[in-house]
């Protein structure tokens, strides 16, 4: 187990290093000098040079990369070109909306998908299965931001159960915050729940065809007991992969959903920064997103090992 964890950890570190280089290089390629962009066309060469050195833009590229990375490691993401405030602070505020939103949606989609998938698999070919499969087929096809608009139309504008947008802030209390995030989370969760339910179903059906399920039945387990005791844990292995992948879709999706609900999350920050050419903020947010995807995949790898003893003893 230790060996496995160490190996995964090493691959995590390498992935992060490579990803940070890719992001840095891409942003470096971007045309335009942030300093002259900030000061406008008519800036004096001296003030420009002064600003450049203040922003650290006059150093060589490898140096700047190292400064950026070591800064991030100590929680310093640099200073926003436009707002002149620490990027870490800007991101920190927004993260408290985007991250809970993604996690809320992940919880919702798992809570819906697991029972739906298990139900469909245990009633394969019957009306219940066909119903669930039809619903997921539709769920997969619905764009989440459109679904969000419909939710707003129905539950915020017509029924007035929820606010149409904006965020009250966590200082209003946990439940108030959760309430404000409910519609966005449902919108975000729907397509993912549909995908997850389909994966859960097909994975369970695959496992139901395995020899050891027959062995379990020969021991005297009922079909239902065999499914719960032997089927589920084995079916979980491919499902975990999808949950890991989904987290990255949820984070990306939350950026779009934030637009529908006017939530001041990372998404809004990114779009503002792009239009203001505040590249250091863009760079940092992108790195943060990629970082969380890589870390989640690392956690999924560990979860694999918890579920599957074969991985623990092998590589």
């Amino acid at each position: 187990m230790l060996r496995y964890t160490l190996k995964r950890l090493l691959s995590l570190v390498i992935s992060l290093a490579v990803a940070s280089i890719v992001i840095f290089v891409v942003i470096e390629v971007a045309p335009g000098d942030p300093a002259s962009f900030m000061l406008g066309m008519n800036a004096q060469p001296e003030t420009l040079a002064a600003l450049r050195s203040e922003l650290g833009l006059d150093a060589s590229k490898p140096e700047r990369y190292l400064t950026w990375v070591t800064g991030m490691l100590s929680g310093d993401f640099g200073t926003s070109y436009t707002y002149r405030t620490p990027v870490s602070q800007m991101i920190g505020d927004r993260l408290w909306i985007s991250l809970p939103l993604a996690l809320y949606a992940l919880a919702l989609s798992t809570l819906v998908a697991f029972p739906a998938g298990i139900y469909a698999a245990s009633r394969r070919g019957q009306a219940g299965d066909i119903g669930v499969m039809g619903a997921t087929q539709l769920g997969v096809a619905v764009p989440n931001f459109w679904f969000a608009m419909m939710l707003v139309l129905i539950f915020a504008i017509n029924l007035r159960w929820f606010a149409a947008g904006g965020f009250v802030g966590w200082d209003q209390g946990f439940w108030a915050g959760l309430h404000a995030l409910t519609l966005p989370a449902i919108a975000l969760a729907l397509p993912q729940a549909a995908i997850l339910a389909r994966v859960m179903r097909s994975s369970l059906l695959d496992v139901l065809g395995e020899d050891f399920m027959r062995t379990a039945r020969a021991k005297g387990l009922t079909a239902r007991q065999a499914l719960w005791r032997h089927g589920l844990r084995n079916a979980l292995i491919p499902v975990l992969t999808i949950i890991g992948l989904q987290f990255s879709f949820l984070l990306a999706g939350s950026i779009i959903i934030e637009q529908v609900f006017y939530l001041p999350g990372l998404g809004r920050l990114v779009f503002q920064s792009i239009s203001a050419r505040d590249l250091i903020v863009v760079e940092s947010v992108v790195m943060l997103l990629v970082f969380s995807v890589i870390v989640v995949n690392f956690l999924v790898d560990l979860a694999y090992a918890a579920v599957d003893p074969r991985l623990r003893s092998r590589a």
């Binding site: 942003i27 096809a141 637009q259």
Partner: protein
């Protein structure tokens, strides 16, 4: 299950035909303004109503189908064109450094959701439909590479591949002659699925302004325009939404149907 295939193909065909026809004919010029008739719900002259500038929604949907289909199709092309050879190559060199590099590269790309790639590209070049194509296309590469490699690996274990090796054929030739034809079914099915995902992704990118820019019409941007008007004119949001849903649903049904139809195991059991 044939029903799925036919229904799916029919649904998809409607939008492909609409997109094709829009090159020659649309009910109205999709950019023509008609302020007096703005925000009309569907009626005889404008079958799907008009938007806030009085533009004909049916015409916009038809031209928008063009954008969606073009973006998604080219993105699938990029994904297949690069992903499939990479997957074949990795499988042929299983366990070597090449395989390891390709697979780790795949993992890395997976860490950049297509929206993140689009953000990066926009940060450099500015927004546009080409962005959407590249962003979705890049994300498709590891998808195709992975499934090709997975299927190819199990084929490499088969004895007919051993027989081909004994016949002196090299890895490239075996990959092209024996492996590729036996993974095409899988690729067709996955291609349909990625195509539908591409349409969804394009709509999302256009909605947040990272995709097609005015005046190129696109379903995602129609939805973005509809957002502020959703309470007064819900049809502005409903119609493009249904267009996206029906296209994606059609493609997914077609993918499922194709999977069943092309799977030789299922076909044997049916016979």
């Amino acid at each position: 299950m044939r029903r799925n295939l036919i229904l799916g193909a029919a649904l998809s065909a409607v939008f492909v035909v609409a997109a094709a026809v829009s090159f020659f004919w649309t009910p109205f010029d999709h950019t023509a303004l008609d302020i007096p008739n703005k925000l009309r719900t569907p009626y005889a002259a404008h079958l799907l109503g008009t938007d806030h500038f009085g533009r004909d929604i049916l015409s916009m949907i038809m031209v928008g189908a063009r954008t969606s289909i073009a973006v998604a199709l080219v993105a699938v092309g990029i994904g297949m064109g690069l992903g499939v050879p990479l997957g074949l190559w990795a499988a042929a060199r299983q366990g070597t450094l090449v395989d390891e590099l390709i697979m780790r590269g795949n993992d890395l790309v997976f860490a950049f959701p297509s929206l993140v790639i689009a953000i990066l590209i926009t940060a450099i070049f500015g927004a546009g439909a080409i962005n959407a194509i590249i962003a979705i296309g890049i994300f498709n590469i590891p998808v195709f590479a992975r499934i090709t490699r997975g299927a190819a690996l199990s084929l490499w274990q088969r004895e007919f591949i051993m027989a081909a090796r004994v016949a002196g054929k090299n890895a490239t030739r075996i990959s092209v002659e024996h492996i590729l034809p036996n993974v095409t079914n899988l690729l067709i099915v996955q291609g349909t699925i990625q195509f539908s995902l591409g349409i969804l992704a394009e709509a999302g990118l256009s909605y947040v302004g990272l995709g097609a820019q005015p005046p190129t019409p696109s379903w995602g941007r129609m939805l973005a325009d509809a957002q502020t008007l959703v309470s007064v004119a819900p049809h502005l949001a409903l119609i493009p939404g249904f267009a996206i849903i029906l296209t994606v649903l059609g493609l997914n049904l077609m993918g499922d149907g194709l999977r069943d139809y092309l799977d030789p195991r299922l076909r044997v059991s049916r016979a």
